[in-house]
Amino acid sequence: MRTQKEKDFEALYLSHKDKIYRLCLGFVRDKELANDLFQEILIKIWRHLDSFKGESEISTWIYRIAYNTALTFSTREKKQGEKKVEIPDNLNLTEPENLSQELENRLQQLYQAISELNELDRIIATLLLEGNAYKVIAEISGISENYVAVKVNRIKALLTQKLNPQTHGN
């Protein structure tokens, strides 16, 4: 018999897994590391699901956990520190579908462009790519909406330029 928590978690997983996974790839390009980060985020969501009181949107809550985990994870990876979260072994991870080689190459270009941004810009870029409003981005990152707007313009221009080098004369 499944508990209510298990049902809620599965529903959240189904509705947010793609967003969380993309966020992971935005932070760590290596797929194996992205899978580790993905699992670490899911584990944290599971652990703290009982503490969610509905004071914010569930997606904002998930984003906060995801970004905070990603920040600590990427800092730890950079410094080769210890892992605080015990990641279960032997989980069966399979690729979702065979993306065409061309699409895969373009995605890799995009991840490369995102990985060249600093951490704050990376957070804003990934939230923006998911189509979040400036208000949500400001809430999650802790910076003002005006500053988000400034950053967004810069990030949009930068990503467009990096993915279209010919049209921008580079």
């Binding site: 699992q39 906060r64 905070n68 279960p88 989980l91 802790g142």
Partner: protein, 195 residues
């Protein structure tokens, strides 16, 4: 080719998550939770267990000095457990209210507390422990000769000092190689958020 940002957004969203057995993950997480809960209960139970052993194995409860020893040891152990629990990373209970800035500030604070525990609090704990053991010895070793008693006091104090020195040296090295660079990196991130 992505000529505008909307195209880039479409490209971004074309990536789907890896599929894995979510039920398997839940079962493993439940097992991990159970294990961690047990470990935490054992950690908490260490204080009363140690005190019970001291009460029943040594004649400490029969003298005021012995009772002070027991109180000091209980306080010292509880204090260290409390400090360590406060320095644990990755707490996201307040994620509903926490934005990135608050989170980074808390993580930096916790990492710095780890350093403070090693550089300051563990030394205090060592002094408290040495004091408690010496007080206990005053009560327990009273019937023995002065030479034996002095030997026991000096021996116990030196033993604690040596153990503490080695432990702190090891912990300090670990802190400098792991936590210190993390603090610097997180402070850099926080600075970016503030600018």
């Amino acid at each position: 080719m992505e000529t505008n940002f909307n195209d880039i957004q479409q490209l971004w969203k074309s990536q789907k998550a890896v599929n894995f057995d979510i039920s398997g993950l839940i079962q493993q997480m439940k097992a991990t939770e159970k294990k961690q809960k047990t470990e935490w209960i054992i950690g908490i139970a260490c204080v009363p267990i140690t005190i019970s052993i001291l009460v029943y194995a040594l004649p400490l409860k029969d003298s005021p000095l012995g009772i002070i020893t027991l109180l000091i040891i209980s306080f010292g152990m509880s204090w260290v457990i409390w400090l360590n629990s406060k320095s644990l990373l990755g707490q996201v209970e307040n994620a509903e209210r926490y934005n990135q800035r608050d989170y980074l500030q808390e993580q930096i604070q916790k990492l710095k507390l780890r350093g403070k525990i090693i550089q300051k609090h563990m030394i205090t704990y060592g002094v408290i422990l040495a004091l408690a053991i010496n007080l206990g010895y005053l009560a327990v070793l009273a019937p023995l000769s002065l030479q034996v008693r002095i030997g026991a006091h000096v021996g116990a104090t030196l033993f604690i000092a040596v153990i503490m020195w080695f432990t702190l040296r090891k912990k300090s090295k670990k802190f400098e190689t792991e936590s210190r660079p993390m603090i610097r990196q997180l402070e850099k991130l926080l600075e970016e958020l503030k600018n």
